[in-house]
């Protein structure tokens, strides 16, 4: 099964590249990147060219069927609502990176549920890199929004004598709690996806073995009943797996939004 890592069949084993065979997460991240880039190219090719002369009303009305454009609009609207609620009215510059983080995490999580593919996010390398990027990004945005005054976030907004007395302690505590964020982001995502895919693989194998055992014991009738078990048995686990994929992508994006919101908070409004 796809969750077994080195035991399952991987699509990139067809390339016979020894680096990719030993580093599944790089190849998985590459396939997710290729899929996202293809979606972007597909949109650029099929999107209507927006100019006053050639635009119809139907270009702005969403189509009733679920297509590529509708899916991205759904996700974009969802992330936009979340960003507006959490960050505030200055959420616009951060929206593209938030939508990308959600799409990237969701796509990588989901890819591991299909046979022949793997999740890049079930490896600590990928998720720690994503956590580090979020850490660098929200600190950079904090400095960009506030300048050097961003360091006041680390001292708890104290002034005067309290700043001299409690300032260093607060600074160390805040710095540690900020620095542990990329680690928790990475470990949370990786543990959830790795555990979920491993359990999916194990349960699927158990049902397959049950089907084989029934076929062995009871002949053709057993094979038929065993096939039903092996086919329908993993369904609740697949549903749970898909739920975990979506929820973990959502939580990663939500925490990123919260960190950006806290770093760029404007109190004067």
């Amino acid at each position: 099964m796809s969750a077994e890592g080195h035991h399952g069949f991987k699509l990139w084993s067809l390339l016979h590249n020894s680096y990719l065979d030993h580093h599944d997460h790089v190849a998985a991240a590459g396939t997710a990147a290729i899929l996202l880039a293809s979606a972007g190219v597909a949109y650029a090719v099929t999107a209507p060219k927006l100019s006053k002369a050639t635009t119809n009303d139907t270009d702005f009305i969403p189509s009733p069927k679920l297509g590529l454009r509708n899916t991205f609009e759904l996700i974009g609207e969802f992330v936009q609502g979340m960003a507006r609620d959490i960050i505030g009215h200055h959420y616009q510059p951060y929206l593209p990176i938030l939508i990308f983080i959600f799409m990237w995490t969701l796509l990588n999580n989901m890819l591991g549920m299909f046979p022949g593919f793997g999740s890049a996010t079930d490896n600590l390398n990928t998720t720690l890199a994503m956590g580090l990027f979020v850490y660098l990004y929200y600190n950079f945005q904090g400095f960009k929004a506030h300048g050097f005054k961003y360091m006041e976030h680390f001292t708890g907004h104290l002034h005067g004598t309290l700043l001299l007395v409690l300032g260093p302690v607060m600074f160390v505590i805040e710095l540690v709690s900020h620095s542990v964020r990329p680690i928790t982001l990475g470990i949370r995502l990786r543990s959830n996806i790795y555990g979920d895919h491993t359990i999916y693989g194990i349960m699927a194998n158990l049902f397959k073995d049950l089907g084989e055992f029934l076929g062995h014991k009871f002949g053709p009738v057993g094979t038929a009943i065993g096939a039903v078990f092996a086919g329908l048995g993993p369904v609740p686990i697949v549903i749970l797996g898909l739920l975990v994929c979506v929820i973990q992508a959502f939580v990663f994006m939500l925490l990123t939004t919260i960190y950006i919101g806290m770093a760029t908070a404007h109190e004067e409004h």
Binding site: V176, I187, L254
Partner: protein, 103 residues
């Protein structure tokens, strides 16, 4: 002004690099008998406590939804966030148990 911003950004990067180096020096010790005990107790205790905590969060959320069904959207997001944060703690315990005694 821009040069000062770059300098403080560099200062903010330092803790992340320290943690990255710490993660690299990660040796796997052979599992002795007591390590299996420790792993089992760690995972069981974490699962029990987190199960209790998540049930409390879920109870509060479900009561809120039952009192005011139109507030479901407002309750749903904080509920999912709280559950995921508690889940992450039990996953840290899982990582520890795995490192103690797991293949």
């Amino acid at each position: 002004m821009k040069k000062i911003n770059l300098a403080v950004i560099g200062a903010a990067l330092a803790p992340a690099m320290a943690f990255a180096q710490e993660g690299a020096a990660h040796a796997a010790a052979p599992a002795t008998g007591s390590a299996y005990w420790a792993a089992g107790i760690c995972m069981g205790l974490a699962a029990a406590v987190v199960g209790f905590s998540q049930s409390r969060a879920a109870v509060a959320a479900l009561e809120g939804i039952s009192r005011n069904p139109s507030a479901t959207k407002n309750i749903q997001t904080p509920l999912i966030l709280s559950l995921a944060l508690m889940e992450s703690l039990v996953l840290f315990a899982f990582v520890v148990a795995f490192n103690l005694a797991g293949k």
